[in-house]
């Protein structure tokens, strides 16, 4: 690929990073201990 004769030279500093960030890892919720069902009153 040719770009032809250079016409201009400049500096580009994007405000927003053009490289996408890693997808956020979903926060893992601590597994809940199984709850013993209360004994029904006699």
């Amino acid at each position: 690929m040719e770009i032809g004769k250079p016409k201009r030279e400049y500096t580009v500093e994007p405000i927003v990073d053009p490289v996408p960030r890693e997808d956020p890892v979903p926060e893992r919720r601590p597994e809940q201990e199984p709850v013993e069902p209360e004994l029904a009153p006699a």
Partner: protein
């Protein structure tokens, strides 16, 4: 290095950038299998485009030729007087000129088209740009060409998802159809 309009180097220091949005051009890539998955590769050089990280240019003359070889001077890429930098074309048609005729070497299993963001030091030419840094902005995957070893477009699209940019499958397989389809999409989007 920045230059004034008459070619003299611009003063260095706390110079403000000329642009705060990346330049966006078009390019084609080969797709290769790497240990971490499918990756984009230059059709000309063996340069792999990393995922989630900018591709930063180095002058390959300085890499390939021995130090002190005639015409080789150390410089950051791109230099206006050299041919180095990450390339992108100003038009889709120009970027796809070689997409049907690429040499299927270096493990290339497909070829794709896309837009690319360019930033850092940028040299602008009549037909495109050379830049210090680049990252894909959108990737379009043509159908596999009949009679070739191209992998199915769906496999390629899924494999390139790791770049974190939009990846779309085209109905077209060869250059003129690809250009027509993408231009029609652009017309519809602008309407």
């Amino acid at each position: 290095m920045r230059h004034l309009d008459d070619g003299r180097p611009a003063p260095t220091g706390a110079a403000a950038p000329d642009l705060i949005e990346p330049v966006v051009g078009w390019r084609c890539w080969g797709v290769v299998r790497e240990t971490e998955g499918l990756r984009l590769r230059s059709l000309i050089y063996e340069t792999i485009w990393p995922a989630r990280r900018a591709l930063s240019a180095v002058c390959l003359k300085q890499v390939i030729l021995p130090p002190g070889a005639e015409g080789v001077t150390r410089h950051p890429a791109p230099a206006a007087a050299c041919a180095c930098g990450v390339y992108a074309a100003s038009t889709l048609r120009r970027a796809t000129e070689f997409i049907d005729g690429y040499a299927p070497t270096g493990g290339i299993v497909h070829r794709v088209i896309g837009t690319v963001a360019l930033w850092g030091s940028v040299v602008e030419g009549d037909r495109g740009w050379r830049a210090a840094n680049a990252y894909p902005r959108a990737i379009f995957v043509p159908q596999a060409r009949p009679g070739t070893r191209d992998l199915p477009a769906e496999v390629i699209a899924e494999g390139l998802a790791g770049y974190g940019v939009p990846v779309e499958i085209l109905e077209a397989a060869v250059r003129l159809e690809i250009v027509g389809e993408l231009e029609e999409r652009a017309r519809r989007a602008a309407a």
